[in-house]
Each structure stands twice: as structure tokens, then as C-alpha cells.
Subunit: 202 residues, 2 copies
DNA sequence: CTTTGCATTAACCAAATGGTTAAACTGAAT
DNA sequence: ATTCAGTTTAACCATTTGGTTAATGCAAAG
């Protein structure tokens, strides 16, 4: 009985929320239990330890970030269109999970091994090499300027992700509120795409 | 006697190192004491509490980030040159403090009030409005394309800062090592500047 | 030499925290 | 109705952690 939702799922949902806002070190098991509306002991009953629970949540988060890339990065379409698609797709994904990047980036800096673990269990990460090659080839063909593929990809990613990571700073420095922030992000899908294409069009 | 360096300074240096790598929640007072080579009680003797110590370190870090911007952002030179200067200057600053952005961004998300506090005590933060106006004017004059000044500034900042925040991810995904990473960053000063100018040149 | 004021340390403390345990509850199968 | 398995809870435990205290060290002033 109790809640209609499965307890395990509720725990994961709660853990996701708490971990992604407070981080591994800052999260308290009690917080997660409260958020899930259950007893603290349940957490250990279903998931042995804080670390185990964290790993599940983190892996899923990182997975979501990488999957979002994979979907478009190796699609079969002209490079320019693909770049537009990547940017649109990625920003839209981040709108749904605004605090994901900072969470993942931060935990990854403190435990880089987590990435290795991810690759071992989920080898379906985006085929970046192929995408980089595509950029190089397009450069040779004169479809776009000759540019360092890695640098270009880094630029694209940077412009998509950074605003979400810097949200509080951005709000504080410019004085914009939540509504304006969302508007800014919405505009950004178009702006960044135009920006990148303008930069690499010969 | 003891060490030649002032104890207070040693504490701050140690706290800076520990806080910026582990964050407020993850840092242990004992770690800081060990790093400084002193007794834990000394930390409380000189700085009342963990929070007080953290605030000093954090404020200094944020200050450094913002100051670095201020220096160039309102200089008196052609916009194109200024953009080049900002990018070069900012990336060089980050090379010296690679983990600063993630530290500041992360703590800022968990306690946005820290920004307000900063503004109260240090009103010398970069005059962004003026810079944005400059971009708008340059757009009107046809010196650069007409673009959203805020979006442009965000793009520039993103491309400078993000690679440092995403360092472990970048290393893990591309397989590059520390040397190659530094090379990549070094190249980036030029690349990002060219990229931006190409994007906004009419 | 003694005093004085700051610096330093070891020992200690209370609260918080991750984790455990044993008992109680629940609903289905016998 | 009883049993039985999985679920849930309250109470408890050991360790960690931020913080305190009382005693000691020590260099300069008297």
C-alpha cells in the first residue's frame, strides 16, 4: 500500500533531486529519505550505501547527457544542418535538466574514475571521432572553413552548456529573473547556431 | 618561529587548495589543518568557523574571476581588439587557476546569496552594461554585425571558461593527457578569438 | 628572572551522519 | 487461521566532524 508509486523509484527520484542540487558530499541520507517520504533505513534496504545510491543517480545523469549527444552527432545529414540540430537538441535537453551539467562536471572533477566506470558499462557513448573527422573532411572540401575539429566541437558544447552552469552568476550579474533567463535560453538555440555557422562558413 | 611564512597566510593558502578542490561540503577542517601543517585548533583561533574561512576563500576566488574581466572590459580600444584582449587575458588567468570556475560556479548555485554579499563589499565588479552598450553601438555603426550583446558576451565567456570546468570530461572522452590539454588551451586563445571575430564581422 | 600577551597543542565534547538491527506490519499463499 | 516472504519502522550504534578548553610554549617587555 502506502504511496501508489513504487518505493524504489521514489527513492531514485528523491536521490536524483538531492544529489544533483547538493552534490555527493553535501547530500544527507536523511534529506533523501524525507524527500521520498520514507524511513532512512529504507534507503539502505534497497540500495546498500550512499555511494551505491549516488553511483546509480550519477551514472543515469551522465548517461542522459551523453545520449543526448549521440542521437544527433552521427546522424546522416549535411554538416551545417547537423550542427543546427545538435545545438537545438542539446539546449532543449538541458532546459529539462538545468542543473545536470554542473552536477556532472563537479562530481567528475572530484572522481574522474566515474567516467571510466561509465565507459565500461555503457560503451554506447557518442562516436566523437567520426564527428571530428566529418568536420575535417568538410573543411577539406571547402564546405566550411578549415578549423581544428576538436576546438570547434568544444566551442559548440561550451556555448550550449555554460549558461546553465553559470545560471546563478548570470542572474546575479545581469539582474535578469527566471522568466528572462528562460527567454534568453530559448533565443539561444537560434543565436548559437547562427553564430557558429557564421564563424565557419568560408 | 615555526615556518617562516605567516601562519594566517598558510591557513588561507591551504583552505584555498582544499575548498577549491573539494568544495565547502566536502572539505574537512582536518584536511586544511594538515595541508597547512598546523593544529586544527589554529583554524578556529584565526578564523572562527568553517563558514567564515570558506567565505574568505570564496570571496577572494570570485573577486579574482571578476577582476580579471574588469581589467580589459572597459579599456579604451577598438571593439575587435578588445574582444581579442578579453579572451587572451581571461584564458591566461584561468590557466593559473584552472579549478576556480567550477568551484565558484558550484558554490554559487548552492548559495546564490554569496553573490549579493560580494556586491555589497566589493562594488568594483565589471561594468558590463557599458560593454554591452559598446557592442550594440558597434552593431549600429556596422563595425560588427547586429547581434544581441548579452548573447555575444555569453558566447565569449562560455568558450573561455567551459573547457576548464569540463577538463576531466574532456580528457576522458577524447583521451588526451595533461600536456595535450595544456596545448589545446594554449591554441584556444587564438582559435576562440578568430572564431568570434569571424562570427560577428559583417 | 619574572611577567605578560600571544601562539600552539593535545585532549576533549556534542552534534551530525551513515549505517545496522530487531521487531512489527502487510498481503498473499497454504 | 497460519505461515511466510518481502517491506517498513523506531531505536540504536560507531564514526566523523566542527568546535572548545585548559594547559603549555615562547619571545619581548619590565
Amino acid at each position: 500500500m502506502s504511496q501508489e508509486r513504487n518505493t524504489e523509484e521514489q527513492i531514485i527520484a528523491a536521490a536524483k533531486k538531492i544529489f544533483s542540487t547538493k552534490g555527493l558530499a553535501g547530500a544527507r541520507m536523511q534529506d533523501i529519505a524525507d524527500e521520498a517520504g520514507i524511513n532512512k533505513a529504507m534507503l539502505h534496504y534497497y540500495y546498500r550505501s550512499k555511494e551505491k545510491l549516488f553511483e546509480i543517480v550519477f551514472t543515469e545523469a551522465l548517461d542522459k547527457l551523453l545520449d543526448r549527444l549521440s542521437n544527433v552527432i552521427n546522424a546522416n545529414m549535411p554538416l551545417q544542418d547537423k550542427i543546427r540540430a545538435i545545438i537545438k537538441n542539446y539546449i532543449e535537453g538541458l532546459i529539462e535538466n538545468p542543473q545536470l551539467p554542473l552536477f556532472v562536471l563537479n562530481e567528475l572533477q572530484q572522481q574522474p574514475e566515474l567516467l571510466v566506470k561509465q565507459f565500461k558499462t555503457k560503451p554506447n557513448f557518442p562516436n566523437i571521432q567520426q564527428f571530428l573527422m566529418e568536420i575535417a573532411v568538410a573543411g577539406e572540401k571547402g564546405i566550411i572553413k578549415k578549423v581544428s575539429p576538436l576546438q570547434l566541437m568544444l566551442n559548440i558544447l561550451s556555448m550550449c552548456v555554460f549558461p546553465f552552469a553559470a545560471k546563478p552568476l548570470l542572474k546575479g550579474v545581469t539582474g535578469i529573473d527566471e522568466v528572462q533567463f528562460k527567454l534568453l535560453i530559448e533565443e539561444r538555440k537560434q543565436f548559437v547556431a547562427d553564430f557558429v555557422l557564421a564563424a565557419i562558413t568560408p
